[in-house]
């Protein structure tokens, strides 16, 4: 809206009161509301894509796609739930398995079985009776290590959760706040999966006395505290172990200039927790037809192929390609820890609460 438009509206709103508000509101919702030619995708800040790929979809389907990046992953989900009676869009992408139950229990999504969902790898499928969400991508949250640090000291990097509490790795690890960061939560769930309901607290007590450092978010942990990342080197980070993703080492190569022959960082592959991201049709979507078409599009080979290098995640579709850089510079994680979504749903809040008291206070 132009400045003059804004001013007129200010005068209208404040001067004429409710009547003007009504007019203002209805005229705006008229623009996007049932406007069946626009479909709105609500997602988190990390959503990224190649523009040409989305253009192709627009051309083929006849829909215009509007993308609304609504904060970090957790905030975006929570805002979507709060506004579900009158959602800000038609499709939500980016709820992961750690928060899925919150979205489903709150009735965020309606049923829709996407075209082509039979081509999704079986291990990612959930909610098979109701089809409220469609898996789109996966990734592994793992401890990364700074190769140079361990080479220099002739120390073997850790490979498992058990290693992290050994004295030789004292004061080396930085992780994220499990209540505010999704890799932080993933790492906590990984330890819960590994050591069980009774054992994980003990494990964290040991980790704490072994000098684990907790910061609020991934950006700070990886790009400031971690000594192995490009950002961390610049910021003089001094922790050679960090909770990040299995796809972080390839990212260190792809974004480097000049590109090194091997990745400067590695992955402790016995410390991984698998994260899966889903999309769903919002319960009160105004453009359900367009929303369905958009979900179908998210699992087409075209989008699944485009995704990995934009968001550093793995495709979930059988035939989609994993970029060669991923396999060359990073490991294929063999046996990540996983947790049944129902188990996460039952315990997540309680675990995070205990973790907070145990580790932060």
């Amino acid at each position: 809206m132009s400045t003059t438009g804004k001013f007129t509206a200010v005068v209208a709103v404040t001067g004429l009161g409710l009547a003007a508000l009504t007019a203002c509101g209805s005229s705006d919702s008229g623009d996007e509301g049932s406007g069946s030619k626009t479909v709105t995708l609500v997602s988190h800040d990390s959503f990224a894509y190649t523009k040409a790929v989305l253009k192709d979809f627009e051309k083929e389907s006849g829909y215009k796609v509007k993308v609304l990046k609504d904060g970090d992953a957790g905030t975006a989900v929570n805002k979507a739930i709060l506004t579900k009676d009158n959602p800000q869009g038609d499709v939500f992408f980016g709820v992961d398995n750690t928060l899925l139950s919150r979205a489903l229990d709150n009735g965020l999504f309606q049923s829709y079985e996407a075209k082509g969902s039979d081509l999704i790898l079986p291990q990612y499928r959930v909610d098979q009776d109701k089809h409220r969400v469609t898996p789109i991508d996966s990734g592994d949250i793992c401890v990364n290590y700074d190769k140079a640090y361990f080479d220099k000291r002739k120390l073997a990097p850790p490979t498992s959760f058990d290693d992290l509490i050994k004295p030789e790795y004292k004061n080396l690890l930085v992780t994220e706040n499990a209540s505010t960061s999704s890799p932080g939560l993933g790492f906590l769930l990984g330890t819960a999966a590994k050591y069980g309901d009774d054992g994980w607290q003990d494990y964290w007590k040991k980790l704490k006395s072994n000098g684990v450092k907790v910061v609020d978010g991934w950006e700070q942990a990886y790009n400031v505290e971690f000594s192995g990342s490009a950002g961390g080197k610049k910021a003089k980070g001094d922790r050679p172990l960090v909770v990040s993703y299995a796809s972080s080492p390839p990212a260190e190569v792809i974004y480097a200039d000049p590109k090194p022959k091997t990745a400067p960082t590695g992955v402790a592959d016995g410390t991984c927790f698998r994260q899966v991201e889903y999309a769903g049709l919002l319960s009160n979507a105004k453009n359900t037809k367009g929303g369905k078409a958009l979900i179908d599009f998210l699992i087409t080979k075209k989008f699944q192929d485009d995704m990995p290098l934009n968001m550093f995640v793995y495709p979930v579709r059988e035939v989609a390609q994993v970029p060669p850089e991923f396999t060359k510079f990073g490991p294929a994680v063999e046996n990540p820890e996983t947790l049944d979504p129902a188990k996460i749903a039952d315990n997540r809040d309680e675990w995070v609460k205990s973790w907070t008291s145990l580790v932060l206070k």
């Binding site: 809206m1 203002c24 800040d45 609504d70 905030t75 910021a235």
Partner: protein, 571 residues
């Protein structure tokens, strides 16, 4: 709360001495009808855009499956984590207030009693932090005290994970509150009273303690309470400098709502903060009323003189050094960091949308911010002006005083609560505003209004009612009376109110961050987003945007400093 950085409390010292005030007079009944008419719009505004959204989000948390769960209040308060947050909130606010008073009171004295070159500019400079968004302040302190910050480079000292960073940032923020509130009154106290006491044999200290201190006491108390209110509800500073271990009530409300999604805990905490803020405001109103009693005030311009003797010069030098280190240095570091790339690289990067954080180049945030702030200022002036006009009428009873307090409340209610309240309450016709741009200015105006009221009220009250009556008797319409009598007298105050409402709106962060659309970020929102991203370029751009914002605020303040009138004192 974060949104409300600017309440500056000019009421008492700005008011003319009691003897000069027109006497309260009984008005004909038409007066109360007119007052109700004036109050209608402000009441509707606060009802719709404050009370209703806040009630809606609180109810969402406490009403589960159609049943009110007030038992949750006890449950939540029984948790040790929550009690820890309450304890930290309180003690850091007390410590911040004490530290601010300790550091700023000498400043208040120097500004009140000494005359020196550049005083006006300096007064504007010390006020700049007060109108800066907390995100920018957090950023500045990070650049000074954090990893790779100035202190780290020079001496390897880092304070960013300690409570000291929070306390110092709070002093930085609130220095101006003390200097302006206490200093404003101090400069109007007649120094001859103290001199008289000394002639009668009192020691210098005794004279000060028995004459000046009692007169200043209520002003100090009022300033302390305002600082306490701001630090008690601190959000951006604690969010950025506190790390995962330090959390105030306000930050905890944000975490519970936005990250943990425990709406009932958030609702309980909102209520707790509401009660606390209500109490603080009540005590504040009481000290303000006490201050209005019988002080003999003189024109500020006759009380200040050039410092004499080594002691006074040393005091002046000390205060200037404090200001340089504590207020100017963090801002200078900010500017220095923003220039840390060759050829204004960070500023140039602001015009590109390659970063992909927003759907638009960051530079557009400046335009957005200015437009939102202008709209918010217009709303705040209209609502605040009407409210002040209604409150001016002296037959005001308890109802009106309650209304006065109501207008102050947005200062202390969690911005996050307001933001989320907007999202869930204003989403249905006839109030379907969520997808419209007006949402942001409305939220920003909420904190502009108390400021407008506080600036306008003393000036409006000083207008002699008999002038209005005379005009009316001569046949002028109410509109014409206002235009011919009130407006010329309050024009300057109106401009000052507008300037501050503008600055607050520009810097508002807590509520805007929830309701600003990603394709329309404001400056503070853009700074926060850039800070949350990896990479030199993002950091540099955050510094550059902060610098731009700081410059805009500084210019606005310098203009206001020129507009200051002698009689209306502060702001």
């Amino acid at each position: 709360m974060d949104l409300a950085r600017t309440e500056v409390e000019p009421r008492a010292e700005a008011e003319p001495p009691a003897s000069r005030r027109p006497r309260p007079r009984t008005r004909p009944r038409t007066g109360s009808a007119a007052r109700l008419a004036l109050m209608a719009l402000p009441v509707a505004f606060f009802g719709l855009f404050f009370a209703y959204p806040v009630a809606a989000i609180t109810a969402r948390g406490l009403r589960i499956d159609g049943v009110w769960r007030f038992g949750r209040i006890g449950d939540v308060l029984a948790q040790s984590d929550i009690r820890h947050v309450l304890w930290f909130t309180t003690w850091q606010a007390l410590a911040s207030t004490a530290l601010t008073l300790l550091i700023a009171l000498p400043g208040a004295y120097v500004f009140a009693r000494f005359d020196f070159r550049g005083k006006q500019v300096l007064r504007a400079v010390v006020t700049v932090p007060f109108v800066l968004p907390t995100v920018v302040v957090g950023t500045a302190f990070l650049a000074l005290l954090g990893r790779g910050g100035l202190l780290d480079e020079l001496w390897g000292v880092r304070l960013d994970t300690t409570v000291w960073a929070i306390l110092l940032a709070h002093v930085f923020f609130n220095y101006a509150v003390v200097v302006r509130t206490v200093g404003g009154l101090w400069s109007q106290l007649d120094p001859r009273q103290e001199e008289a006491a000394r002639v009668l044999g009192a020691s210098r200290f005794a004279a000060w303690r028995r004459v000046t201190l009692p007169a200043l006491g209520p002003a100090v108390a009022a300033a302390a309470l305002m600082v306490f209110l701001f630090t008690f509800t601190s959000f951006g500073v604690v969010q950025i400098l506190g790390g995962p271990t330090f959390s105030t009530l306000e930050v905890e409300i944000y975490r519970q709502t936005s990250e943990i999604f425990d709406l009932s805990t958030a609702a309980v905490l909102t209520l707790v903060q509401f009660v606390a803020v209500g109490a603080i405001l009540a005590v504040h109103a009481w000290t303000v009323r006490r201050r209005e009693t019988a002080l003999r005030l003189v024109d500020a311009s006759v009380t200040a003189r050039r410092p004499r003797g080594a002691g006074q010069w040393a005091l002046l030098a000390g205060v200037l050094a404090t200001i340089a280190v504590l207020l100017v240095l963090p801002l200078a570091v900010l500017v220095e960091r923003s220039l840390d790339a060759p050829g204004f690289g960070y500023y140039k990067a602001l015009t590109s949308d390659e970063g992909g954080i927003f759907l638009v180049p960051p530079i557009e945030a400046i335009g957005n911010s200015l437009q939102y702030a202008l709209a918010a200022t217009a709303i705040a002036l209209l609502i605040g002006g009407l409210a002040a006009a209604a409150l001016t009428r002296r037959d005001a009873g308890r109802l009106v005083r309650g209304f006065d307090a109501l207008l102050m409340l947005p200062l202390g209610v969690s911005a996050v609560t307001v933001g989320f309240g907007f999202l869930i309450a204003l989403d249905k016709p006839p109030l379907d505003l969520r997808s419209t741009w007006i949402l942001v200015p409305l939220a920003q105006a909420l904190v502009g209004v108390p400021f407008v009221v506080r600036t306008m009220l003393p000036v409006l009250r000083a207008v002699d009612g008999r002038l209005r009556e005379a005009a009316a008797v001569l046949g002028a319409s109410p509109w014409r009376v206002w235009r011919e009598v009130d407006l010329p007298m309050v024009r300057r105050a109106l401009l000052i109110a507008a300037g501050f409402a503008f600055a607050v709106s520009l810097g508002e962060f807590g509520a805007t961050v929830f309701i600003a659309r990603p394709d329309n970020p404001t400056l503070p929102v853009a700074v926060a987003r850039l800070l949350g991203r990896a990479g030199d370029l993002n950091y540099g751009q955050a510094m550059a945007l902060s610098t731009i914002l700081m410059m805009v605020c500084a210019v606005a303040l310098l203009v206001l400093e020129r507009l200051r009138t002698d009689r209306t004192g502060e702001f």
